[in-house]
């Protein structure tokens, strides 16, 4: 059982890292950025490429994947999302989904459609209480907590973070102070995309890498965002770990139902806590 809990916390950590970007775009622009899942997938694939071409180092691959997410997310934000929001939310959803279709097909073209396994980059097991846990999973849990603290400080202490938090509350008021809100949203969007790529990198050794891996994760992180509250970063943190545990515990008893259980919980939460968006 302790093993299951550890696995759940690992998944929760990764879910949190992915959900930050989604929560911010969703909280600010009310757009579900389907391309977020695409960047997550691309992150995992870039790690694969980096491991086989440049160096055998997992850290180099991670940095490479995160850096590569910057130009990709910039293009998506600048040429697709920024042009469409304000026009109609539906079109933005469809357009980002179109980007996913193009991206997934590109991935299949470049890397092939078959799933690729990836081994644990550290490979050391740590004894903890009565069980042994892979070092790698402990690192993920630690990393997600570090990121949570870093993001909290970013939104409390830095100017960019403060502007975005204010804009989450009242976008028009911030704009009337002469601040170009879209520019700051652009920064945060890029940051969220980099974290999505990091999430893909971290998740890759736990499961296999395949072109459609982003779709399911996107749906689950969407559930995380809804359960945690739109644009509520602390709530996102808590709900990511809770839903991670749900996935792990359900998966222990009945494997295929793991992700479905998340949606059941999301449905229940929505019944009791209606959101008017």
């Amino acid at each position: 059982m302790l093993n299951t809990v550890a696995y759940g916390l690992t998944i929760g950590g990764i879910l949190y890292i992915i959900s930050i970007g989604l929560s911010l775009t969703f909280g600010t622009m009310r757009i579900v950025n389907f391309a977020h899942g695409l960047i997550y997938t691309i992150g995992a694939y870039l790690l694969l490429t980096s491991l086989s071409f440049f160096a055998e180092s997992f850290i180099v691959g991670t940095v490479f994947a995160i850096l590569a997410a910057i130009p990709i997310s910039y293009i998506i934000e600048r040429f697709i999302i920024r042009k469409l929001y304000g026009v109609s939310i539906d079109y933005a959803i469809i357009a980002t989904y179109a980007v996913v279709l193009i991206g997934v097909d590109l991935i299949k073209w470049i890397w092939g459609a078959s799933p690729k396994p990836l081994s644990d980059p550290i490979g050391i097991d740590v004894p903890l209480f009565s069980i042994t846990i892979p070092m790698y999973r402990l690192l993920i849990i630690g990393l997600s907590i570090v990121i949570f603290l870093a993001v909290s400080i970013f939104f409390k202490k830095t100017m960019v973070g403060k502007i975005v938090v204010a804009a989450l509350e009242d976008k028009d008021a911030v704009r009337s102070l002469g601040i170009n809100v879209d520019k700051y949203f652009g920064y945060v969007f890029t940051m969220g995309s980099c974290l999505a790529a990091l999430g893909g990198v971290l998740y890759a050794p736990i499961t296999s890498v395949h072109p459609y891996m982003g779709m399911m994760v996107l749906l689950v992180s969407f559930a995380v965002v809804l359960v945690g509250g739109l644009g509520n970063l602390k709530g996102t943190f808590a709900s990511a770990f809770i839903l991670g545990l749900v996935i792990a515990i359900t998966g222990r008893f009945w494997g295929p139902a793991a992700e479905t259980m998340v949606f059941v919980i999301m449905g229940i939460v929505l019944i009791f806590k209606p959101i008017e968006v």
Binding site: Y91, I93, A98
Partner: protein, 312 residues
């Protein structure tokens, strides 16, 4: 009198168009096209008229398909009863999950539908695989009802044509009624409709139920046509097909839905076998529609030829 004349004209135009394309596509495919058009009509009611984009409409199509198959397997092999069961279950799912879904708009609406679809797909593929046949699916058999034998292709073709016309007219009557006006008003500005004293929740719920019912009807019909159900009927990743069809034809118009349905089916049936990177093409086409061609084919024709087309 002129109203009846217009209706007759509609019947002639729709029936003649489908009969005209039958020699090109063959009777099997044209039947398929008509069933898909019914599905697009159901989706279009929700998206085009009420402005709620669902990313999980395959759930309702698949539910109709599975209901008909299971009904023919366990209850009765009468095709009409099976069809009725499919439609009723389609309505019931709308009644059951509608209150949760219709409270949301925009992205939430899209993704909650998708989440429910994911659950449905899981149930059909894994949880109930003992009854649904899981990955392999299962076949459905129907008995002959007098002179109506759904094993014969012209019979099912005619029946689907009648179903399409029936759906078309139900929607046309609904949309030209005060209810239809209210639905369109909800798309424009829901808050103001509420100010006028209408309970918008109830209207959204009813519209959702109608949409799921029509979608389930389409799913049920396709089982009469194929006689075989697989999890691909309920696969959430196919949701984009109906969205694309609605957009290409022109959302918010009944003729647009029909044109879009036929156009999408023609493209996916023929182009997809020649072009290896079919998904990418679909993606670029969606982007072009969203950025340059927002009103779809029917909207374009309307803009270009003005009233001449509108009076059709």
């Amino acid at each position: 009198m002129s109203k009846i004349k217009k209706d007759v004209k509609d019947v002639i135009v729709i029936a003649a168009s489908f009969l005209a394309v039958t020699p090109i596509f063959g009777i099997n495919r044209t039947t398929d096209f008509m069933i898909f058009c019914i599905f697009v009509l159901g989706f279009n009611l929700l998206y085009g008229y009420m402005g709620r984009l669902s990313f999980g409409h395959m759930l309702y199509l698949g539910l109709g398909a599975y209901t008909v198959t299971l009904f023919s397997e366990h209850v009765s092999k009468n095709p009409f009863f099976a069809l009725l069961a499919g439609v009723i279950v389609g309505a019931l799912i709308g009644v059951a999950i509608g209150p949760i879904i219709v409270r949301t708009t925009g992205a939430c609406f899209a993704l909650i539908n998708l989440a429910f679809n994911q659950v449905g797909h899981f149930l059909a593929l894994v949880a109930f695989s003992k009854w649904t046949g899981g990955e392999d699916g299962m076949s459905a058999y129907f008995t002959k009802m007098g002179f109506i034998d759904f094993g014969k292709k012209p019979v099912i073709f005619g029946f689907c044509m009648l179903s399409l016309l029936f759906t078309y007219f139900i929607l046309k009557k609904l949309l030209s009624s005060p209810y239809g006006l209210l639905v369109k008003a909800i798309k424009e500005n829901e808050v103001r409709v509420r100010f006028l004293g209408y309970n918008t929740f109830r209207y959204k719920w009813i519209t959702f139920i109608i949409s799921t019912t029509i979608s389930a009807f389409a799913g049920a019909l396709s089982i009469l046509n194929y006689g075989y159900v697989t999890p691909s009927f309920i696969d959430p990743s196919r949701a984009v097909e109906v969205i694309f069809a609605t957009l290409i034809g022109g959302a918010g118009s009944l003729y647009g839905a029909l044109i879009g349905g036929v156009a999408y089916m023609a493209i996916s049936n023929y182009l997809a076998s020649y072009i290896p990177r079919w998904e990418m093409l679909l993606g670029f086409a969606l982007l072009i529609i969203v950025f340059r061609f927002r009103r779809g084919m029917w909207g374009y024709l309307n803009d270009k030829f003005g009233r001449r087309v509108e009076t059709l």
